[in-house]
Amino acid sequence: MKKDIRKELKSRRLYFDGGFGTMVERLSGASLSPPELLNLCDPATVRTIHEAYLAAGSRILTANTFGINRDKYENYEELISAAISLAKQAAKDCPDAYIAYDMGPTGRLLSPLGDLLFEEAVSLFSANARAAAAAGADLILIETMNDAYETKAAVVGAKEGCDLPIFVTNAYDQSGRLMSGADPLAMITLLEGLSVDAIGMNCSFGPDLMLSLLPQFCDHCSLPIIVSPNAGLPTVRGGKTVYTVDPDEFSRLMVRIAEGGATILGGCCGTTPEYIRKTVEGTKDLPYALPAKKKSTRISSYTHALTVGDRPLLIGERINPTGKPRLKEALRREDFAYITLEGLAQEEMGADILDVNVGLPGFCEESMMTRAIFELQAATDLPLQLDSADPKALASAMRLYNGKPLVNSVSGKKESLDAVLPAVKKYGGVVIALTMDEGGIPESAEGRVAIAERIVSYAKRYGLRKADFIIDPLCLSVCSDDRSAAVTIEALRLLRKKGFYTSLGVSNISFGLPARDKINAAFFTLALEAGLDAAIMNPHSLPMKDAYYAYCALRGRDSGCSRYIAYATNEAGAPQAASPTDIGAPLSLAEAVEKGLAKAADEAARKRLSEGALPLSLIEGELIPALSAVGRRFEEKTLYLPQLLKSAEAASAAFAVIKEGIPQRKGEEERGMILATVKGDIHDIGKNIVRVMLESYGFTVYDLGRDVSPEGVAEAVEKTGCRLVGLSALMTTTVPAMEKTVGLLHRMTPPVTVCVGGAVLTPSYAKEIGADGYGADAMETVRFAEAYYGKKE
């Protein structure tokens, strides 16, 4: 009986095989058809290749399954079974050889940038894993992926499909990152969090690039390290494709890679048994040891990792509905763009991490949370802190999160730990642990530390360790208990002495007091000095940031005071870009709209309102005429589309300010329009232009986004009560979806009016699919909407 490969690795170095395609070309001529088909139509070639690698010294064979999945092949199970069977046959005289199921990428990009949903991807991978295990594979090798998200989907899928050991190697490009931006530390953090069994690099140009990236793995990875380079780059010699690195050069570099700390060695594109044989010869007598176990607390996004303890971290707290009516409203309307923009604003103000809390009574927190994470991940690469009291919402968010998250939070209550920790173990995460339990919040610092120790001790049964936690000793408002700051500070000190990392919701200290920022900033400094590692705070608060950057500079946590200098010169003075409004007198509302300056328009509107101007007279007397003047110049071609858009955005900015001053007249409904790009289409610039124009004329726009199903549009009609819809499509392939959507909407009662537009449509086609109107451009759509509401009055 073969030993589990994980145990085997403790005592000896194992070698993967090399490239498959080059060997196929050698044996049966060049072909551009997929290699996995050979398992059925030319098994002898497949077996011969495996045998050749075994003879060269490979002891982990990768089955010929790289490109197989259920979407590509209906008979995927048959292909997988055949592939693994062939590898086993080849290894029948080599009982110490392992057969790896080779799981390559789907070739598709995951949502939101692409159209493959995370769960769909997981399902494809788990189907493969199930078939692999059934066919008798010894382990799963996930390889060549250039995207962290797809890698996560593959690992989650593999673990859900089987119990086999999982090895993961990614393809890094010449800049030392994955295509989607992840550096090795981000991948190590993600994959160790997911509890895979070995990590490394494959493909990626050549052994020299991998040699240069190897130190990052050796410094930070606690798992066995796999290195399987290409034989350099393909090039031409005498009409044939040849690789730039020959077997001798390859093995010389592999010796250095082995000496540099790599565990398992192999080859990728362009390598042949000769490459493996020379590599084995050169490295078999080298000293062998697994990487040392590193102790560190790290979280990651899909591009980078943050190590807790390097310097204090700022966690932006603004995505939280408590005390924020506009955010609550945005959540109710599912306006996730608002949420995302708040996240981006915090990023700009210096947040290292974003807290995400979207709990709203009466709404399903799980779906709010997963949607928020999804949208934020599309726009920002900051690591996220998943903040919820609902364990189900937390678990779903952890599953979907692209990286290793911060999880906020657990407490000392057994119920809380049992509900949250299993998901943390499964998906990886660093958990904020609040020092409170069934008895409440201990009054003494020692009492809080004791809870922290009990939490960590209890967590062992879930396979989690001290390094997986950050302790929040809680701070209560100093005006309800004047000892509360002292207790918290003392607790921070004690926790640091005992080797814990700490975090705090800093602004809680001033709850109930006036001029909160003054107290917050002073308390923040005290807490940092006591060892605070992460602060949940408002990145827009200048006093708190002043305290933070000054503290870090003073305490040597800011080399050359460079971060302080960048912060101080940015805030204090040199404006980012001198805007015209800085020069001379402020612009009037009309001027700001005509020049397309949104900030100036906002300021002008506020000024006029504060001077006593009536909202309606501002709109009808200044805003609309200014916009109409711009529209006329656009039609006369003395002004162009980008400028029209800027003017429309300026008008919208002013409108948003003015609207707040208008009481909704009884009986008068808002003029709304639902906009969507239809299913299958992700082009949305045209739709967005229509949205901006409509908003500038005072319409309320419900923008459903892109790739929206007919049912999705119908649902929005039901939810909002708005019976005017605009549909856009750019691609000929999606026009049928538009037709279906129009049909569905027309069958609703009361009937919905639909206007269509987009580069691919014409007035006659619009009529053919039954649309009520056709907008050749944004202005025509606005006129259609105006006419619709005009008719109703």
Binding site: S31, L32, S33, P105, G107, R108, L109, P112, L113, G114, D115, L116, T144, D147, A171, D173, Q174, S175, M179, S180, G181, C203, L233, P234, T235, V236, G239, K240, T241, V242, C269, A337, T340, L341, L344, A378, A379, T380, D381, G596, A598, Y640, L641, P642, Q643, L645, K646, A648, E649, G680, D681, I682, I685, N688, I689, R691, V692, M731, T733, T734
Partner: protein, 195 residues
Amino acid sequence: MEGYLYKEIGEGELSLPINELAARLQSPRDFDQALIKEAEGEIRACLSCRFSAVRVPLTYPAEDTVGVGPFFTQSRDLYKNLYPCREAFLFAVTLGEGVDRMLYRLSLRSVSEHFVADAVASAFAEAAADLAEEAIKAGLPCRPRFSPGYGDMPLAFQEKLLTMTDAYRRLGIKLGRDLLLSPQKTITAIVGILS
């Protein structure tokens, strides 16, 4: 060039083609420089431009049918462009995923900025395709380049071009269910070689 060619195009090598940009902006050539410069700067900061190319044999089994390597496609326009060339270069060039993410962020913030930046990015993609084409041809006389989606060339043939240029492994290019390329600012093309 035979076999594969892979090359990176440095950000400094790319210059913004004004005519191309003006057309996409639906504006005249000498239009708002400040706006364009700003967008150009943002795009340049996240460019990661590379291309992958391969030389393949061409066959013509029937009228209006072209065999590109082992794959066939029916397209009168492609046939007219290529016949009777016996070989062609295939290439894929991309500006990278960073540009997509930046454009997405802009789309949330400001439609006008997104509109301009998207046009700038598309213009850069065309410029990159021109540079790639010159590097690949290396002086050989060729037909004008032809991309899936031109004329009656089926968009579905995109997948075969990506396979033949090994675009996933070399460039990280992926194809969506509805045949949209990712990264979005990616161009694939066939360039017939005149004997």
